[in-house]
């Protein structure tokens, strides 16, 4: 089934009875060439690109719950390429380019909206840092415009420009930044992978990884054992547990990150806006809800719900930046378990076990990475060589100290971001 404007009209006229499920409900077979553990954004895009770029379709994605039930369906949907350091910069730049063609590629409406992202600054020092970041983005071939106060005012007149503690001095504007419909990204990749022959197996939790003579042999699941030549671990917040099944300890600590949405309102915030003091970022969904969030709760957690101090911080930051938000009522809030690494950058690499590969450490920013991560990880799985755009995401960088990608400049230490 292909989606098109014509199809929508035809279905509308015939009672919408012609739509069919977007993917098969596959049952596990005994053996696959490649088993992907985790049906989030990264696992599904990996499966899609394995089939599309490398012709590998004897592949299964094993998901313990339902497709898209993890972080891929819980994030605040910001998509951007405003990273600073080599290693990250080229990767997110590549990912944004893939986003720009994604809907045509997948024949699926992921509602990618390049509405622009403004990162505000509130001091001279911060302006200098953002000017430098903007130059790094331009050098990478992406777009960045340094706005002064009046420039920001034209986009967002409702900000508290003269706040006594954090006056708005300007912002770094990234016009190609924006948002996307998160579930649709998971569904679009799932449908694309399924159509190319990949088995998507839900309600199938991996409970063990069997290794013999230093090589991965099979996985144990709640739906029986499955043999595999290669196994890919792509389980975000659960990376620690699944890696432990293969006897590994990872440089990863799992934390809870919360998100909030208000009742539906008329259009008021056109861009994505990020506060430069205190953690707060906000955009408005097409349904009208204000979608916003802040920092992680700052302690290890697997409870997919947060604590009140973090809620309070986010609300205070929102009120400081745009007092008008106080009139809106919060409709829902939730939490997702994010896989934090010491330097805040991800891992796409082999492991010491032959045939066992790892994709994790997306911290709080892995949604925008979904297209490039899948493509680069598929490349690694299929060819055993690192893709140029993701060559820096090595597992051993913490041990060796070489190639640390510490975007925030806080030091490669677990509790510092």
């Amino acid at each position: 089934m292909r989606f098109s404007g014509w199809r929508v009209i035809r279905e509308g006229l015939s009672g919408n009875r012609g739509w069919s499920p977007h993917w098969r409900d596959a049952a596990p077979r005994d053996e696959y060439d490649i088993v992907i553990i985790g049906g989030g954004g990264h696992g599904l895009s990996t499966a899609y690109y394995l089939a599309r770029d490398h012709g590998l379709s004897n592949v299964a994605v094993l998901e313990k719950g339902y497709l898209g039930g993890g972080n891929v369906g819980r994030n605040t949907t910001i998509v951007r390429a405003n990273y600073f350091l080599p290693g990250n910069s080229e990767f997110y730049s590549y990912s944004l380019k893939l986003w720009e063609g994604l809907e045509q590629e997948l024949n699926y409406n992921v509602m990618h909206s390049q509405r622009g992202l403004i990162n505000l600054f509130h001091s001279d020092g911060q302006r200098d840092a953002f000017a430098r970041r903007g130059n790094a983005m331009i050098n990478q071939g992406d777009d960045a415009i340094l706005l002064d106060r009046e420039g920001v005012r034209r986009h967002a007149p409702f900000l508290d420009f003269d706040n006594v503690r954090f006056p708005v001095h300007g912002g770094l504007y990234h016009p190609r930044g924006g948002t996307a419909r998160h579930d649709a990204v998971a569904w679009g990749y799932a449908r694309g992978a399924d159509r190319r022959g990949v088995d998507l197996i839900q309600n199938c939790e991996v409970t063990g990884i069997d290794i013999g003579n230093g090589r991965v042999r099979s996985v144990q699941t709640t739906r029986g054992p499955i043999r595999a030549k290669k196994v890919a671990i792509v389980v975000a917040g659960r990376s620690g547990q699944v890696a432990a099944m293969a006897g590994m300890r990872l440089p990863v600590e799992s934390h809870v990150l919360q998100a909030f949405v208000s009742e539906g309102l008329k259009p008021v915030i056109a861009q994505v806006i990020a506060f430069g003091m205190g953690h707060f970022y906000i955009s408005q969904s097409d349904k009208g809800g204000l979608v916003f969030g802040g920092d992680i709760d700052m302690y290890a957690s697997y409870a997919a719900r947060g604590n009140l101090p973090a809620v309070e911080h986010v609300m205070e930051a929102g009120m400081t930046l745009m007092p008008m938000i106080g009139k809106a009522r919060v409709l829902r809030s939730w939490g997702g378990i994010v896989d934090m690494t010491p330097d805040g950058s991800p891992i796409i690499d082999r492991t010491d076990t032959q045939g066992l590969y790892l994709n994790c450490g997306w911290n709080y920013g892995g949604f925008k990475a979904v297209p490039a991560s899948g493509r680069c990880f598929a490349h690694l799985l299929a060819t055993d060589r690192h893709h140029d755009a993701a060559a820096g995401f090595r597992l051993d960088r913490f041990r060796t100290g070489r190639g640390i990608i510490d975007e925030e400049g806080t030091g490669a230490q677990h509790n510092l971001h």
Binding site: Q241, R249, L250, E253, A300, A303, N307, F398, R399, N415
Partner: protein, 85 residues
Amino acid sequence: MRISCPICGERDRREFHYRGAALTRPAPDAGEAAWDAYLHLRDNPAGATRELWYHETGCGAWVVVTRNTLTHEMPGCELAAEAAR
């Protein structure tokens, strides 16, 4: 979430700074693998864990908290100085 500081009693989580898993610091010459394990690698358990918190705006003590990362229950809290003995 409230933490029972052995000195100050039960206090709001906001008074404390989170450090992370309570691990034993290796000897200076323990070697690269031991230091890598201490600095970077984590069990990252889903369930019971022992971790270091600092009572920043209270008595200034480091405490070792026993906590469940699934439920946020905190069955234990002792002074780090005593836990180390």
